[in-house]
């Protein structure tokens, strides 16, 4: 009988220790590594914190992409149709980065108000709109004048060359 109790004690002890350690780790890590998403309107209104990583998403404004000649620096505007935010990035843009495309950038807002992106994400599907971007656009459109930006390719979209 004593053996069984000791076993149960070992079992409960180990499980509790594991759960305690994990909870501590998770609490420490998740607070620091959570990335909030802001729309260009929210950034223009000053709602996004400075000096802290955030994500911003929107459509790349046509004609706004500027490449510098000697380096890989690039600047472009992101819009949710009611406000724009300037994004600066250095490096290779993803395959599907192009004007009019919905993208998400990760980085922080500089003192000059330009968003310094560390990472630019565009997904591998021409019809894909990052869900955050789609929602930001909808909110900015405000009265529903803006057509729903997510084109649905499933279903009838199947056939034929365009």
């Amino acid at each position: 009988m004593r053996a069984r109790r000791r076993q149960r004690l070992i079992f409960v002890g180990v499980v509790l220790a594991g759960v305690a350690v994990a909870t501590a780790l998770v609490l420490m890590a998740i607070g620091e590594n959570m990335l909030y998403f802001y729309s260009p309107s929210q950034i223009a209104a000053g709602e996004a914190p400075r000096g802290h990583d955030v994500r911003v998403g929107g459509l790349v404004v046509a004609g706004s992409v500027e490449r510098s000649s000697g380096s890989l620096d690039v600047r472009f505007d992101l819009t949710d149709t009611s406000a724009n935010v300037r994004v600066a990035y250095s490096g290779i843009l993803p395959d599907l980065f192009r004007e009019g495309q919905g993208i998400v950038a990760l980085g922080r807002i500089g003192d000059d108000g330009v968003f310094r992106a560390r990472e630019v994400l565009a997904k591998h599907d021409e019809n894909y709109m990052p869900p955050e971007v789609a929602e930001a656009l909808e909110l900015a459109a405000d009265g529903g004048t803006m057509p729903h930006p997510v084109k649905n390719s499933a279903g009838q979209g199947g056939g034929g060359k365009p």
Partner: protein
Amino acid sequence: MIPELGHFALIIALGVAVIQGVVPLLGAQRGVPEWMAVAVTASRAQFLFVLLAYACLTYAFVAKDFSVAYVAQNANADLPLFYRISAVWGAHEGSMLLWTLTLAGWSVAVSMASGALPMAFRARVLATMGLISCGFLLFMLLTSNPFERLLPAPQDGRDLNPLLQDPGMVIHPPMLYMGYVGLVVPFAFAVAALLGGRLDAAWTRWTRPWTTVAWVFLTVGITLGSWWAYNELGWGGWWFWDPVENASFMPWLVATALMHSLAVSEQRGAFKAWTVLLAIFGFSLSLLGTFLVRSGVLVSVHAFATDPARGVFILAFLALVVGGALTLFAWRASVISGGGSFRLMSRETLLLINNVLLVVACATVLLGTMYPLIIDALGLGKISVGPPYFDAVFAPLMLPLVFLIGIGPLTRWKGDHASRLVQLLRIAFVASLVAAGAIVVVTSGYSLLLLAALAMAIWTLASTAQGLIARMRGKRGAWKGVRALPRSFVGMTLAHLGVGVFIIGVAITSTFSTERDVRLGPGDSETLAGYRFQFQGVGEFPGPNYVARRAEVQVFRGERRVATLYPEKRRYPIQEQPMTEAAIDVGFTRDLYVALGEPLGDGSWAVRLYYKPLIRWIWFGPALMALGGLLAASDRRYRSGRRAERAAPVTDTGGALGAGVSGG
């Protein structure tokens, strides 16, 4: 006609699955042998009908039948035959069919290998698998029929997602599904044991090899997925903590825990209820993964579906299966307690800690994956939890686990003395610390995490090797000695060595990889990690269903040319999609990786260069683990199940090991 035949075959398969799920269960409950016997026949019939449906869909792809909507969306007249066959699982409907076929395949495998099982038990196992199959067949027929026609038929199809046109992607999904779905076998065994109220040593001995084999497939599938991402995504990364990756990693963690707790249940008869619970969790996480990937709640490359009906169906099915199994567990768990006693310092305790660490690690991954979804669903904002979270949580949990790999296998069951273990392992421990320290100094990669990871990895290798040597003592000749060992022991040794190899790869790659994005014109060169990359220029090359701009990059080390690489930028005109095809010079000690960015005018390009030391070890390690799993699953005592059962006391590997060690 053929697609209709396929559709019809699916409907019949559903009918058969219903019979397989209901009749044997009733038979087992009432003790009617004829009803129980239905299980075997039905599982085979069901497999044949699902196979027929699968063949019909493959035929539609091979024959380029674009009147089938699924074919039209995922193939094209110019798509090579190889990719037309793999396009069957290139999107939602077809991959559900592959899932169902895999499930039916596992059912048949169980039905063929379970002749020695008690009749009622076998009937219950197969019936459980039949019921799961019902759910998936119903799901396909109601929400995602791969045979739906598209009329009028288009002239040509929309082509397969270019990302999936890669050899790695051809084998990755079937392997992963074999593993995912394979966890249904321990699940079904657990449910059958709960229903029958009998959970003995024979049960664990039957469950163990099946779990191990499913785990092997899962390991191979995840590794292939990582390898594919490295080759194809053009970012040089091998793991992204992407929700889709996590969806396959969580069942792997639980399956790993299950393998270890099954060892305790088999050898010592302890932890039985816990083992059953892990078997239930393992398959539940497989289902959860399917829900996450298939419902479209996560949007990524893998999430083809945007139809809410599908999500609701899978979620309801998930709730039914998990809820049902857990209710059954709560109701019957009291009948399966018991087991031998053990002391604090014993192999049982160490394996318990192993299990807790693995399950807790799985829980943290689950939390990181689900948290953004929950926050979003509650309307509390849009957040994402990035790789830093997972890295910060995962490494501290894995280090003690890896430390235990060295001790666990050398510890005796029931009880052992810490002093004996210290005596035995102190040299290995000090040696690994010294070796890791030396590496850190030589490479001047001063980082505490690197030191810890290397020390743990070398410790794993050293202590595992020591365990092997201790077992072989007294046998003449190294090769003969290894041959004489039980396969389960050799398998475990290989798998643990694989862990060490993997950690060395991860530690070195993540510390010493260098990358650079540069602008290169014809004739320009850039030096990275002692290698000079010379850009020769870009030419156009037509592919079967794409046009490629291919660069030539010559790589020099000093004056010697090491490699000539041809990275490509492809454009697939049908999907209007550009694709980066990286070029990699593969090596045992390092990879050189070149990816094309975009043209910058005047003939120069943005080019991304990587130097990745020991990255191959990241896949070589899991390959060793998988090989070890296969060896362990083919151990003699599983092959001759009936004989082993009669010779009741199980050959206790741990005791024998302990004896071998102390005898030396």
